[in-house]
């Protein structure tokens, strides 16, 4: 449900003129809600930034998500590849 609620909050924020990007853990849900910019990450529920106490991985995820902010071919959902 969290992934749906994130999309709904995101839409409300984008609507007032603020650029938004979200992480999603459930592609199946986010495809249906279709928020402006989302990045799917291949982790289990509860782990949107990958791993606890892994600053390097967390930062890679954040940076890749932020790279979507200038895009306006919406809605978009990209996939983060954990190498």
């Amino acid at each position: 449900m969290c992934n749906q609620i994130v999309g709904l909050i995101q839409a409300a924020i984008e609507r007032v003129g603020i650029t938004t990007v979200s992480i999603t853990l459930l592609k199946e849900v986010t495809e249906k809600i279709a928020p402006p910019r989302a990045m799917f990450v291949p982790y289990k529920l509860g782990y949107p930034l990958g791993k606890p106490n892994d600053p390097e991985l967390q930062k890679r995820i954040i940076k890749e998500a932020l790279s979507l902010l200038h895009r306006n071919d919406l809605p978009i959902m990209t996939e983060f590849k954990d190498v």
């Binding site: 449900m1 969290c2 992934n3 749906q4 609620i5 994130v6 999309g7 709904l8 909050i9 995101q10 839409a11 409300a12 924020i13 984008e14 609507r15 007032v16 003129g17 603020i18 650029t19 938004t20 990007v21 979200s22 992480i23 999603t24 853990l25 459930l26 592609k27 199946e28 849900v29 249906k32 809600i33 279709a34 928020p35 402006p36 291949p42 982790y43 289990k44 529920l45 509860g46 782990y47 949107p48 930034l49 990958g50 791993k51 606890p52 106490n53 600053p55 967390q58 930062k59 954040i62 940076k63 998500a65 932020l66 902010l69 200038h70 895009r71 306006n72 919406l74 809605p75």
Partner: protein, 162 residues
């Protein structure tokens, strides 16, 4: 990777039956960033049910979900956040170990220090995402947070589920 197939039966049946398409965002708003990220003010939003000591906990007894939100000041110690999400669909151990897993305040502070991001807003927001009937969220609490961020002149919102 999280998919419906790996959830326990009751969660899987619920997710398969839930009419997510009813909440498709339409019309789709579009506000692309028009300035470099290095000049942008950023706010973080999570649905992880985080709150601070002294704030009311999220109300897990509301069957259809608690649509309220908590304000998280920028300069708190990230690990002082508490996690009170009612869902049993996810493994809570990660977030209890490191709050940056869901609200990466420390990572964003580092990016501000490095000049990669302009600034962090003085407040961030936490919801508890287990909301089955999101009418109140859509009509009331999400627009409230959007208006607060607008009044703070925030340029970018970064959102995370659990």
């Amino acid at each position: 990777m999280a998919t419906f197939d790996e959830m326990i039966l009751t969660h899987r049946l619920f997710m398969r039956g839930f009419p997510f398409s009813r909440y498709k965002i339409d019309p789709l708003p579009s506000s692309p960033l028009t300035k470099p990220l290095s000049q942008a003010k950023v706010a973080l939003i999570t649905t992880a049910g985080l709150y601070l000591e002294g704030q009311p906990k999220f109300d897990s007894s509301i069957k259809l979900g608690d649509s309220s939100f908590r304000e998280i000041p920028r300069d708190i110690l990230t690990q002082n956040l508490k996690e009170g999400h009612r869902s049993s669909a996810f493994d809570h151990r990660g977030v209890r170990d490191d709050k940056n897993l869901v609200l990466p305040l420390d990572r964003f502070r580092e990016m501000v220090e490095n000049g990669e991001i302009g600034s962090l807003n003085h407040r961030h927001f936490s919801f508890m995402g287990a909301i089955i009937a999101p009418g109140d969220l859509i009509n009331k609490t999400a627009p409230q947070v959007a208006d607060l961020l607008k009044s703070d002149n925030v340029d970018v919102a970064f959102l995370t589920p659990v």
